[in-house]
């Protein structure tokens, strides 16, 4: 039974369970719903939940497990001798799947009978010829083991699918009957449904957490794999970043320090731009601006946060870079060789971060209670004295938190670096030189036809892990500072 209809059937059973459960509940109370523990619809929902949830869960698990089991069994059927020297078992299995698919389509199109497609004794050449006639793509001549495996694969999938339909429908039916059996005036359907809903919410929350854990684990395992191929000491202390391009040379220098330095340097420049501008605009918006100005200016500033970073990258490449070249380039002071430099990327990234700093700081400054300002004004302080000596100290922990959050954004930024800072990994103090960051290198190591088993590709995971640890540390530090030094105001 196709999946769509199967799901629909389960949902249909659930709705039948709802209607029957409701009716049965009313009947059991003699038509007087006041005698029931819960509202009649709760009895209906109880039956519906019991029929749909376990059945759909089983469906999901089955859909995940069946391909694994079938693949393993079929893979064992192919003898080692059938795997050519130049190929691998994985490629053969792909061929098996293709052939099985071809058979399926041919049968569906009516060009082949079911018996013929499943006939274990059928002539291989005849089958592949008929597959070709049917317009099914068969890459090479199908060999005997592949054909047998494909037939087996197809048979297993068909029976598996049938078994799944039966099992799921059966489970739905059992659940439905169970829910209906429970109906009695004293049964606390309301509480049971409440628990069911709670379980649903927990499941939604755990999916997010499990995904995070999954991402983390994939990073960890690949990083471990990388450190098996490349010494960790060289990675963390290496002053040179020079991956060999062939990917098989084995003579790559993969030192992370130049990349970390680039990341750090560009982030510092970005923060040096973003923090004063963002903070000052936050102070203006929250303390000086009149309501109409604020109503216009704040959303305008926040529009900056909505611009995709690739657009900022273009801005860096086409506007800021050439502008800096005019001043610091060979025509001007002669410090700059090309438009792509730490300065270019840092300035543009700083502009990108302004709304982060200003918007968060503005909220934090607004959260400082008016009574503190009144207290200061009441002592004869001016507005700027009040801001400097009362409002900002009170808001400082939150502002530090905002800055650290902006810093972790800066560290994770990629597109502006790719377009604005160049691709050369370099340890230099000159901000007008091209440098690159960890993120930009992750992109360049994984794009192109990289062999995913080589250290040159796997290093990306180690870089990602390093970055993850750094930004995680920054975020934890930010949270810690905000919590520890936050003044408690009602």
């Amino acid at each position: 039974m196709p999946l769509f209809w199967l799901i629909l059937a389960v949902l249909g059973l659930a709705s039948v369970g709802y209607v029957l459960g409701r009716r049965r509940a009313l009947q059991s109370a003699g038509g007087d719903s006041r005698k029931l523990h819960s509202l009649p619809s709760y009895y209906g929902f109880n039956a519906a939940l019991k029929s749909a949830v376990p059945a759909l869960l089983l469906l999901v698990v089955w859909l995940l497990a069946q391909p694994l089991i079938v693949n393993n069994t079929v893979s064992e059927l192919i003898p080692d001798s059938a795997v050519p020297e130049s190929s691998s078992r994985g490629l053969i299995m792909a061929e098996v799947r293709r052939a099985a698919e071809g058979l399926e389509n041919a049968v569906a199109a009516g060009l082949m009978t079911e018996e013929f497609a499943g006939n274990a004794g059928a002539d291989v050449e005849e089958i592949s010829q008929r597959l070709k006639d049917a317009g099914q793509i068969v890459t090479s001549e199908i060999t005997q083991p592949v054909m047998r495996a494909a037939q087996h694969y197809r048979a297993m999938n068909t029976t598996g699918g049938r078994m799944m339909s039966v099992a799921v429908l059966l489970l739905a039916l059992v659940g439905c009957l169970w829910g209906l059996r429970e109906v009695a005036p004293a049964f606390r359907a309301r509480n049971v449904v409440e628990n069911g809903i709670r379980a649903l919410l927990i499941a939604a929350a755990s999916i997010a957490i499990l995904t995070t854990i999954g991402i983390l684990l994939s990073l960890v395992f690949n990083t471990i794999e990388f450190f098996r191929l490349y010494p960790a000491w060289d990675f963390f202390t290496g002053l040179n970043w020079a991956p060999s391009f062939s990917g098989r040379g084995g003579s790559s220098d993969l030192g992370v320090i130049p990349l970390l330095w680039g990341t750090f340097y560009i982030s510092i420049v970005a923060l040096a731009v973003a923090v004063p501008i963002g903070l000052f605009s936050a102070i203006y918006l929250s303390e000086y601006a009149s309501k109409p100005v604020r109503a216009v200016a704040k959303p305008m500033l926040e529009v900056l946060a909505g611009i995709p970073t690739i657009v900022y990258g273009l801005f860096a490449l086409l506007t800021v870079g050439p502008l800096l070249m005019k001043v610091f380039g060979s025509d001007g002071l002669g410090w700059m060789q090309a438009g792509t430099a730490v300065m270019t990327a840092g300035l543009v990234m700083g502009i990108m971060l302004i709304p982060f700093v200003s918007s968060l700081s503005d909220d934090i400054i607004n959260a400082v209670p008016q009574t503190l300002r009144d207290g200061s004004y009441g002592l004869g302080a001016t507005r700027s004295e009040t801001i400097r000596q009362v409002v900002l100290p009170a808001a400082l922990p939150g502002i530090v938190g905002a800055i650290l959050l902006a810093a972790s954004r800066a560290i994770g930024e990629t597109m502006i670096v790719v377009l604005g800072a160049g691709a050369a990994a370099r340890l230099s103090l000159n901000p007008f030189e091209a440098m690159t960051t960890v993120t930009a290198k992750i992109v360049s190591q994984l794009t192109g036809d990289a062999d995913f088993a080589s250290p040159e590709a796997l290093v990306a995971f180690a870089l990602g892990m390093t970055l993850f640890v750094i930004t995680l540390g920054l975020n934890i530090l930010a949270l810690y500072i905000v919590r520890k030094y936050r003044e408690q105001y009602e």
Binding site: T371, L372, D374, G375, Y377, G378, G380, P393
Partner: protein, 264 residues
């Protein structure tokens, strides 16, 4: 009722604030209507009245705190020592240094106790040296009846004190700038009875040097601490006079109803 001793008493005292025909508008709302009042030096004047009657609003006119509210508009004449405080030449910041204010909720700054008290003197440059400042802080804290409790932890945060201590810290902070008038907007409404008693004792002390204006919801408090009482109702100043007279022999029906608990 005419009493010669009280008239003599009044004559001895100079008038600090004199307000004539004061009107306050919040947008379209007419919050204060035609208020005339004279506030004497070295006297505690209490403003009483039901919530929303305009007593806090009027108090905030006296040090131009209402300037910080955009929609607020003030008409009429308020003079401090004969000088119009709403005159163009008067800097509200300077005025507020002369007319200190203590608020309803204790609002110590997120700084140490010492820095809280030293805030005003530092801003106005009242201390010539560190020793001078230390002295000012100590004197203010002693006046605020807080010195003995905090002298060993002057550098602990002011927010760590108890509610009553915080309010006394705020009073000490206001006193440290050497104001001429002290405005108090329900200074005891967030305090327990013991802390209230301490603050009231302090107000009686402060009266020797300052003119104190206190807004209060508690009629007992007004009776205990003040010499003059003004009763506000719906933005009007209904009655103003000796505290004893107001509470024992009010002239206006509304005052009588309020103090006997029939309205408000």
């Amino acid at each position: 009722m005419y009493d010669t001793t009280s008239e003599k008493d009044v004559d001895q005292k100079t008038i600090k604030f004199s307000a004539r025909k004061v009107q306050v508008f919040y947008g379209d709302t007419h919050a204060i209507k035609d208020v005339d009042v004279d506030i004497e030096d070295k006297t505690v004047t209490a403003f009483i009245g039901p919530s929303g009657c305009g007593k806090s609003t009027f108090l905030r006119c006296l040090n131009r705190m209402n300037d910080t509210i955009d929609i607020c508009r003030i008409e009429g004449d308020i003079r401090l020592d004969g000088e119009d405080i709403y005159d163009r030449r008067v800097d509200p910041v300077q005025l507020r240094a002369k007319v200190g204010m203590v608020f309803q909720k204790p609002n110590p700054f997120p700084k140490s106790i010492y820095d809280n008290v030293a805030y005003g003197p530092r801003i106005h440059g009242l201390a010539r040296s560190k020793a001078d400042l230390d002295q000012i802080v100590e004197r203010a804290l002693r006046r605020g009846a807080l010195w003995d409790e905090v002298k060993d932890r002057l550098h602990a945060p002011g927010t760590g004190l108890s509610g009553g201590q915080q309010q006394r810290l705020c009073i000490a902070r206001a006193v440290a700038t050497e104001p001429e008038v002290l405005l108090m907007d329900e200074p005891c409404s967030a305090l327990d009875p013991i802390a209230t008693a301490q603050v009231e004792e302090l107000i009686a002390e402060l009266r020797r040097d300052y003119s104190v204006v206190i807004v209060t919801h508690s009629m007992q408090q007004a009776a205990r601490v003040s010499q003059k009482t003004a009763f506000f109702h719906l933005g009007n100043l209904v009655e103003f006079g000796e505290t004893g007279n107001i509470f024992t022999n009010p002239e206006d029906k509304r005052t009588e109803s309020y103090i006997t608990g029939r309205i408000g």
